[in-house]
Amino acid sequence: MNRLYSLALFVLFLSAITYGIIEWRSALVEQQDVIDDELSPDFIAETLKSNIYTDAGQLSHTIEADRMEHYSSLAVTHFELPNYTLHPKDNSEPWQLSANEATLYKDNRVVLNHRVRLKATDINSIVEEIHCKYLELDLTTNIISSEQTVMVLGKDFTMYGSGLIIDLNTKQMTLTEHVRTIYKENHEQSL
């Protein structure tokens, strides 16, 4: 009896293994197709330049980029060497925001990465440039923030810190973690 019994067991075991292998191989193949779909952008633009207006017809911002890829299934747009010109609501001088790359998400939020530079075009602004590696921009509220370390270059000072929040409309800036600010001595004065 037990020979038949062990034979049955062996057959059962064998079939379980073959089933497992077939299942495993087919799962692998399927995944392959899913990844391919996401990577190919729906449309690409080279040396892009576009102006975006608010509902009231006011110029909100312009974006120039070497290359833009749009993935409509994910509602994500990726930019290479983007250069934003951001116009505050009160029509004061705009700010230039550039980086090596940026990703625009559907809720009008942009994440900029690598060599991020925010520059004031207003020559009298006490803050001239902000340098950092990572920065988030909310295009609807014109609020720029970064958890990473930032360096703020002013007319006569250099500021180091992190936790930057700057609102281009109200012109308020805060660093929740301030490390140090160095005010350069006014050289002509001491000559």
Binding site: S125, I126, V127, G154, K155, D156, F157, M159, G161, T170, K171, Q172, M173, T174, L175, T176, E177, H178, V179, R180, T181, I182, Y183, K184, E185, N186, E188, Q189, S190
Partner: protein, 165 residues
């Protein structure tokens, strides 16, 4: 001392907030300003960047507030002067420090208090004034009095020799 005034001013604090429209940078939570041997400690420091209309040179004003805010500097002769008050106003371009609100100056053991004291960080001269009903009190320690008399005698002697030449 003089060399302090050509140094950079460094401000350390936990938080920072700037009002770009009115050009005011505020530094909050145990703020420390240092410039050479000059040091100011306060709870909040506001820096007003503006230009001197005549010379169009920058004329920043640093306002430090604390309970109290304390200013310290090492003088040319190496001794330490410290000014403390509710508010300290420092104008680097004019080399003046104005302290007001329970203002108290301590130097080599002597003390001067009044409602408002101005001090020139270059000439190291001090001017204390008080509102009408309050008095300016100056407490000189014995050795300071001796030093002043010695200085006076030295000046008289120089006065005599210069007459003789």
């Amino acid at each position: 001392a003089k060399k302090d005034l050509e140094q950079e001013i460094t401000i350390k604090s936990q938080r920072q907030a700037a009002d770009l429209k009115n050009k005011i940078a505020s530094y909050l939570d145990d703020v420390k300003i240092s410039q050479g041997s000059i040091s100011i400690t306060a709870d909040i420091v506001q820096v007003f960047s503006d230009k001197d209309d005549k010379s169009a040179k920058k004329a920043d004003i640093y306002i430090a507030k604390g309970k109290p805010a304390v200013f310290q500097q090492q003088l040319e002769d190496g001794s330490l002067i410290s000014l403390q008050a509710d508010e300290i106003k420092y104008q680097p371009e004019l080399n003046t420090i104005t302290v007001s609100g329970n203002a108290l100056v301590k130097q080599a053991g002597s003390e001067v208090s009044g409602s408002k004291i101005t001090y020139n960080t270059l000439s190291e001269k001090l001017e204390a004034e008080s509102n009408n009903n309050e008095t300016v009190t100056t407490i000189l320690q014995p050795n300071v009095i001796k030093k002043q008399q010695a200085k006076k005698e030295k000046q008289d002697k120089e006065g005599d020799n210069s007459d003789k030449q």
